[in-house]
Symmetry: C2
Subunit: 351 residues, 2 copies
Amino acid sequence: MPVTMTDVTLIHPVILCGGSGTRLWPKSRKVMPKPFLPLFGNQTLFQQACTRCGDAGQFAPPTIVAGSAHVDLIAQQSPAKDTQIIVEPAARNTAPAIALAAARIDPQAIMLVCPSDHHIADTQAFRDAAAAAANLARAGKLVAFGITPDRPETGYGYIKRGGELDGGFAIERFVEKPDLARAEAFLADGGYAWNGGIFTFRAGQLLDELSQHRPDMVQAVKDAVANGHSDGAQFHPDSAAFAAIEGDSIDYALMENTQNAAMVPVAMGWSDIGDWSALLEALESDEQGNSCSAPNAELVDCANVLAVSDGPRISAIGLEDIIVVVDGDEVLVTRRQDAQRVGKLGGAQDQ
Amino acid sequence: MPVTMTDVTLIHPVILCGGSGTRLWPKSRKVMPKPFLPLFGNQTLFQQACTRCGDAGQFAPPTIVAGSAHVDLIAQQSPAKDTQIIVEPAARNTAPAIALAAARIDPQAIMLVCPSDHHIADTQAFRDAAAAAANLARAGKLVAFGITPDRPETGYGYIKRGGELDGGFAIERFVEKPDLARAEAFLADGGYAWNGGIFTFRAGQLLDELSQHRPDMVQAVKDAVANGHSDGAQFHPDSAAFAAIEGDSIDYALMENTQNAAMVPVAMGWSDIGDWSALLEALESDEQGNSCSAPNAELVDCANVLAVSDGPRISAIGLEDIIVVVDGDEVLVTRRQDAQRVGKLGGAQDQ
C-alpha cells in the first residue's frame, strides 16, 4: 500500500470537494460547482479552505479528495504547494472519501477533515479549534467541531455535548435537523452546537473504528488504494473496488456510533453557504442589508437584496428579501425564504 | 402650401409617434421606443394603431407624425399602403404635431388623432366611437374619446361630461390627474371618463380655433409647412420655423379652452401601457395572474408576475407583484407598485 511521507506532529488537512451546490445555481454549475466560485472577494471557497490550513507550523500540505471532473479546477486554484489529490472514481458520500485519505497517510497522523465549500470568517478561531481537536484526537477521540449557534437554525444537524474533556466535551448524541421549536429550545439550552462536518481523528483509529461498523467499506477502500496508481500529485484508487462501496456519510457510518466521539466548541463565523440566502447573510452588506456583486447595479429602495451578475446591469426598485442572480443565459429571482428550493428548479436540474 | 389629396367622406387617421416610453425601459430604448415594440403578440403597438384604422371604407390612409430617428422603423413596420410620414424637425409636444398634420390635409377633412403607443383590445368599439366622434366633428365639435373608467386610476387625466349631444356629450371640464379619493369619487359619480389623448375634429376648425389661443404656434406651423419639402412619402417641415415653436399639449393649448369641446364615451379595453404594471394588466395572464414573454421561463409559486426576456431563461420562486425584464445587457426587477419609477433609473436615463 503506497503511503505518503507523513510528519505526524502536524495536522493533516483533508479537504473534501464533493458537493454539487445546486442550490447556488445558476452560479454553481456542474462544470464550475460551488467550491470553485469566488463568492467572497477574489478567493474561491476551496482556496479559502486551503489558506485556512496554510500555516506550515501547524498544518501539513493538504490532501484533496475530489471527482475527476474537478481535478483541473483544483490544480488551477490550489494555493498550496505539494497538494495531493485523491481522485474519487465515483461519488460515495463522505465516509469512503475520508477513509481513502486515511488509508493514504501514516496511521498515527492527525487528520482534519474539512468541506471545501464552507465559509469561515475567523481563521484564528478555526486554527485554535483545530489545535484543541488535535489534542483530543491524540488522546484517542474522534472529534467534531461543534459550532456555537447564534440562531435557531433548522437547516443544520446539532451535537448535544456531554461531559467536559481537556479542551472540549464528550458528545452525548447527534441530533437530526430539528423543527423551529426544538431549534429554539436547543439555542436556549446552550448545550447544543451545529455539526459543521469538520472532524479530527487519527487516521489509523478512523479506519479501525470504521471497520467495526462498516468492514465492507473499509476493505473496499483498502483494496481501492492497494490497486490504485499515482500520476504525479494525483492518486487514482481502483475504480471497480471503490465504485462497489455502498456510500454513507461519516456521521451515520461512524460518528453517531463510536464511544469515542468528542467535540470542540468553536465560534468562528461559520456558514455552509447552503443557499443564496445564507450567502447574503455571510457577505458584508450596506445599511439596508443589500449586497451587490454585480457591475453598475442600481438598487432603489431595496432592503436585504443580494444582486449577483457576471455582466448585465441589474436595476431594482422596491425589493425586500429578494435574490437576483444573472449568470450567462440564466436569470434567477427568488424570495430569500425560498432560496432552499433553487436546486429543484428545472434549470438547476437540467444542466 | 402643398396639400395632400383628401377624401373628406373618410376619417383621416393621424398617428403620433412622439412618446419615448422610458418607463418601459430596458425594452423601450431610444433606438427602439415603445410604439415599435411587439408587446402584444407579433404586432407592435404602432402596427396595431395602423391596423385599427385599416378599414378602407371608414378610414383614409394614415398620416404618421414622428421624429427623424424613427422614420426607418415606421417604413419597416407600417402595414398601411400610402402612408404619409410628417417628419417633425423637433419634438414640440402634441399641439404642433397635430397642427402640422392639419395643415397638410383638406380643411374639411375629419382628423382622428391617435397616440401610437396605446393598447385597445376592442377594435370595433374603437371604430364605432370614431364614427360617432366624426359625426360630432362634422357638426363643429372638437371631440375627445372619453374612456369609461373601470377603476379609480390616479395616473390619467379625466373628462367631466356635460349635456348630451347627438352620439356623445359636451365636455364640462377637463380634470388633472386626481388623488385616489377624488378618483374614487369620479368612478362613483359615473360622469367622468379618462382622457385617452384620442381626438377628432375638422382640420380647418382645429387650425382656426388653435389660432385664437396660440396664433404664434399656428403661424409657425403654417410657415414650416409652406417652406417644407416632400421626399417620396415623407414630408419635412422647415426646421427653423418649427423648432422656434414653444411646445404645448393639445389639451392645454386648445381642448381645455374651446367652447366646442365634446366627448364620445367608449369602453374599448384601453390602456396607455404607461409602465410595466399596466402592460401586465393588459396582457393575458394565467390563473395566478402571471404573464410570460420569456423563453422557457419557470415561475414557481409566483403571482401577478410579469417575466419578459429576449433570450436568457428567467427562473423565479415565491414572487408576488414583481416585474422581471431581461433585455440585452440590462436586467430590471421591480415591484409592480414602483413600475412608474423605472424611467428614473440610471439605465433608463443614460441610454
